[in-house]
Symmetry: C2
Subunit: 171 residues, 2 copies
C-alpha cells in the first residue's frame, strides 16, 4: 500500500509532446459506480487497467483532498479482459505520455474514444506541500473537480460535457 499525493491539471497546447520520453496506451474501467462512492455505499474505488501486455487491479480509498491510500496488484491480462466486461460505466482509453520537467516526471493523459479531446497532466508528489516547477503548457489545477476523475469520465465522458465545462476559468 502507498499513500498517493497526486495533483491534476488541464493542459494547454502541444508543447509537452516534444518532451515526452515514452508513451503507454491504457484501457481501464471501474467495478464500482461513482454514485456508490459519493453516497457512502463504498469507501474505495476498484479499477481494472490493461497497459500493453500487463494488467493491474487497483484500489484507491476515497478521502477528501489529494492524499489517498492506494493498492495496486498485477493480474493476468486475460483476467483483466474478463474483469473489464464486469465494469460499470464505460471503458476509458487513453495514451499516457511521460514528460520530464525540472526534475519531476509528469504523466500527460491524452484521452481517446468517448473522451477524445481531453488532455490532463498528473504529478505525483512525496508530500502535499512539495514544490514543483510549472511547465508552460500547464493549465489550471483540477485535482478536486469531480468531472475530471477517471471514474467520473467512465460514466460521463468528455464528449458529453457542456461547452462551459470544457473551458474552466483561467488560473
Amino acid at each position: 500500500m502507498g499513500i498517493e499525493i497526486e495533483r491534476k491539471f488541464t493542459v494547454t497546447g502541444d508543447g509537452w509532446r516534444a518532451a515526452a520520453e515514452r508513451v503507454q496506451p491504457m484501457a481501464q474501467g471501474y467495478l464500482n459506480s461513482l454514485a456508490a462512492l459519493e453516497g457512502g455505499g463504498q469507501r474505495a474505488s476498484v479499477r481494472v487497467r490493461i497497459e500493453g501486455d500487463r494488467a493491474f487491479l487497483n484500489l484507491k480509498s476515497r478521502e477528501p483532498g489529494h492524499t489517498r491510500q492506494e493498492f495496486d496488484y498485477p493480474v493476468p491480462v486475460e483476467d483483466a479482459r474478463q474483469l473489464l466486461a464486469l465494469c460499470v460505466g464505460g471503458r476509458i482509453e487513453k495514451r499516457r505520455h511521460y514528460v520530464r520537467h525540472a526534475g519531476h516526471l509528469w504523466e500527460v493523459d491524452e484521452f481517446i474514444g468517448d473522451n477524445a479531446g481531453l488532455v490532463v497532466a498528473e504529478l505525483e508528489l512525496a508530500s502535499a506541500d512539495e514544490a514543483y516547477a510549472r511547465p508552460d503548457w500547464l493549465g489550471i489545477e483540477v485535482t478536486d473537480l469531480q468531472r475530471y476523475y477517471n471514474l467520473a469520465l467512465a460514466e460521463r465522458p468528455y464528449s458529453r460535457w457542456d461547452p462551459v465545462e470544457r473551458e474552466p476559468p483561467l488560473r
Copy 2:
C-alpha cells in the same frame, strides 16, 4: 479466473465435527455494499479475506443461480488489514472446517462474532448437475437465499435475524 458452482446448506447438529480434517480461522469484509449489487450499480463483489498468515482479494460476478465468475489474488496481509478498514458493513469472522464425505470436500463455516450460532456447509461442484451424497448433518439448501450470502451477513448479521428466519422450513 474460475467458474464457480457452489451450493450452500444449513447444518443440523454437530455430526460433522468428528469428520473435520482441518480448521482455518478467517476474517473477511466487502468493499461494496449489497445494495450496490442489488441495484445494478455494481456487477461484481469485492472481498478481502485474511486466513492466518495469508490474505486474498476476491472478485465474484453477480449472476443468477449457482454459477459465477471468480477471481482470487493473494495480497500482503498488511494490505489486507488496511483494506478491511475500508470495507463497508461489518467484519465477518468464522472458522472454516474441511469435512470429507463420500468423495466430496465440504466446507463447514462456523461463524463467530456477530454471526455466532450460524453454521453453513458449502460444496463446490464441477458442474451444476454433479451428483453428491448428502451427509446426515446436512439441512436444507440455501444457495439462493440472500440473507445467507456472506455479503448480506456483513450488513445484517445472524444476531439480528428474526427468529423465523433462523428456522427455515424443513426440506
